[in-house]
């Protein structure tokens, strides 16, 4: 009973591995559907969400906070979807979007760069230089995105539980590793970690509802008690208070809502 996120560079066979892991464990598999769900729920064109999760924020976006808003929508849709466990997610940034949940097995699949180049050349009929340039650009965007939004390097193996170099193993062997790790005691969903996930889902939902108007807020939730952190002297304080009251009535599972103005948000706040 675990949630597995599989992160990988482009053309690293991560999708195939994810499909086989899901098949072997009888888990659901999700990836791009999350964008569709977020698009439908928050009424944002899917293309914008896709761009938000793929490209690093530009200079203007850093001020407009649009990217943060889109990522809040995607995160909310993802957490909502995995809350019932037994899921393999192989979309982008799963290890970051589900950070802090005990029973999430975070896997990274790496492949030899030269083999990736050969694969792209073969698949898309590109020259070696074109294939190389495409992969370098893709990897740079990934690295920049993760740095800008989360301050991490996606290639940093400390962020994952298991990092596998796929070109020295067969797909089946890599799948075997992942399944074995997912079934180990460290990734069994405990009551506590299930509750953490429910709380995360609620916090993400509240953040997604508010982020368009209040991009700088931080939200935490513990056993349904939601705390919203905002800047001191924020002129929108009264408006935020009203929105929180509305949300308390609208969203199931919220017991109480508090607004902490001028208090820095804790590191685990969404």
């Amino acid at each position: 009973m675990a949630i597995i996120t599989i992160s990988r560079g482009s053309f690293s066979m991560g999708r195939l591995v994810a499909e086989k892991v899901a098949e072997r464990l009888g888990y659901d598999i999700i990836s791009r559907e999350i964008l569709l769900e977020a698009s439908r729920h928050f009424n944002i064109p899917e293309i914008k969400l896709e761009k938000a999760i793929h490209d690093a924020p530009g200079i203007l976006e850093r001020y407009r906070h649009t990217k943060q808003a889109y990522i809040a929508y995607i995160r909310s849709a993802l957490v909502e979807r995995v809350v019932n466990d037994n899921v393999v997610y192989h979309g982008l940034a799963g290890h970051l979007l589900l950070k802090g949940i005990g029973h999430v097995l975070k896997v990274r699949i790496n492949a030899d760069f030269e083999k990736r180049v050969a694969y792209v050349m073969n698949r898309d009929g590109l020259s070696e230089d074109e294939a190389r340039a495409r992969l370098v650009e893709d990897d740079n965007q990934r690295r920049k995105w993760t740095y800008e939004l989360y301050g991490h390097d996606p290639w940093d193996s400390a962020m994952y539980d298991l990092t596998i170099r796929i070109d020295r193993l067969s797909i089946e062997e890599a799948v075997g590793f992942i399944c074995k790790a997912a079934q180990s005691s460290g990734f069994t969903a405990s009551e506590r970690s299930k509750q953490n996930l429910k709380d995360l889902a609620l916090a993400c939902h509240v953040k997604a509802e508010l982020v368009a108007d209040f991009p700088n807020i931080g939200v935490t939730c513990e056993y349904g008690n939601v705390i919203v952190y905002c800047k001191a002297g924020d002129r929108g304080g009264a408006k935020l208070g009203r929105r929180l009251d509305e949300l308390k009535r609208k969203l199931a599972g919220i017991y109480s809502v508090e607004m902490h103005s001028g208090v820095p948000a804790p590191p685990d706040a969404v």
Binding site: N110, S157, A158, D161, T163, R165, L169
Partner: protein, 298 residues
């Protein structure tokens, strides 16, 4: 019949896990105990070799670069020789940085997590978490700098390992089970070609170690007993150096032919690395020059 090379951000974890894997598989261990034999060969104190494995060269620490490279090359030669015996678990001698292109050598990195390490250091030494955290960060930077200077490879990069296991949530017993299972996979079994690659690496390392006794900036490639040596030199010393190298290298077991390339400048972009790699594709290269140290430091 395989080689397991274990590396970790924590020496204690590295040692403990290597022992557990070796016990479970009935393999021998190659670790820093080899330094005693190397020290006898080099006629130095084993402590100096330990320092060479820990620190980058420094005049203040009485470890000039030429000596540092020589000591490392001696360690490398001895470790590669021992790895040829197979069924070995190796740790603590930086083998993950110079055993390259040997398909039956499985490289595993175990991450114990900087937070956990800081907590254990704070507890052991009775210091604050902030001090312990800073110590761990400095230690990580130092190791990274060392690996880049010595072999031009960042040892924290996951791309050099077959498997990286984070012990934060994965139980050490399960990690041991995973390593044992993985080493049984077909791709980590020795085949004629991979055994030959390791032999070639070992011969190249032995030749380089012998040459670095009296010279510097040496690179060596070896295949089937043929050894190609690249060395910096110009003018009149070309012939003299070439003759000396042939004499020293020719005496080493397993060397049947020696080819020497003496170049005026082996450090520029048109220097030895890329053209020679293309001239002898697939030949293992042993040795970094002083230029590589500067490049890595920058």
């Amino acid at each position: 019949m395989s080689i397991i090379i274990i590396s970790s951000d924590s020496r204690n974890v590295e040692e403990e896990m290597a022992k557990r894997v070796a016990d479970a598989k009935g393999f021998d261990i190659v670790d820093c105990r080899v330094l005693e034999d190397v020290a006898k060969d080099c006629n130095v104190d084993p402590g100096i070799l330990e320092k060479a494995l820990e620190n980058t060269p420094s005049i203040l620490k009485k470890m000039p670069q030429a000596r540092w490279r020589y000591y490392l090359s001696c360690i490398e030669a001895e470790v590669l020789e021992r790895l040829r015996r197979d069924n070995v678990v190796c740790w603590g001698v930086a083998a993950h940085l110079y055993v390259i292109g040997v398909s039956h050598a499985m490289k595993v990195r175990l991450i114990s997590g900087s937070a956990r390490r800081a907590a254990s250091i704070a507890e052991l030494q009775g210091t604050s978490m902030n001090i312990a955290r800073k110590w761990v960060d400095d230690e990580e930077k130092r190791r990274k700098k060392w690996s880049l200077s010595a072999y031009g490879i960042d040892e924290t990069s996951p791309s050099i390992y077959d498997l990286v296991i984070n012990l934060d949530q994965i139980d050490p017993d399960e990690a041991v089970g995973t390593i044992i299972e993985a080493v049984g996979y077909r791709k980590f079994r020795p085949v004629t070609y991979s055994v030959k690659c390791l032999s070639d690496l070992a011969i190249a390392a032995r030749v380089r170690a012998e040459l670095l006794r009296s010279m510097k900036d040496i690179r060596v490639q070896a295949r089937d007993g043929t050894v190609i040596v690249f060395v910096k030199g110009s003018g009149r010393e070309k012939v003299k150096k070439s003759r000396a190298i042939k004499e020293i290298a020719g005496k080493i077991d397993g060397v049947s032919f020696v080819e020497v390339h003496v170049k005026r400048n082996i450090t520029d972009a048109e220097g030895m690395e890329s053209p020679d790699r293309s001239r002898y594709p697939g030949w293992p290269v042993i040795g970094k020059t002083s230029h590589d140290v500067d490049k890595a430091a920058n």
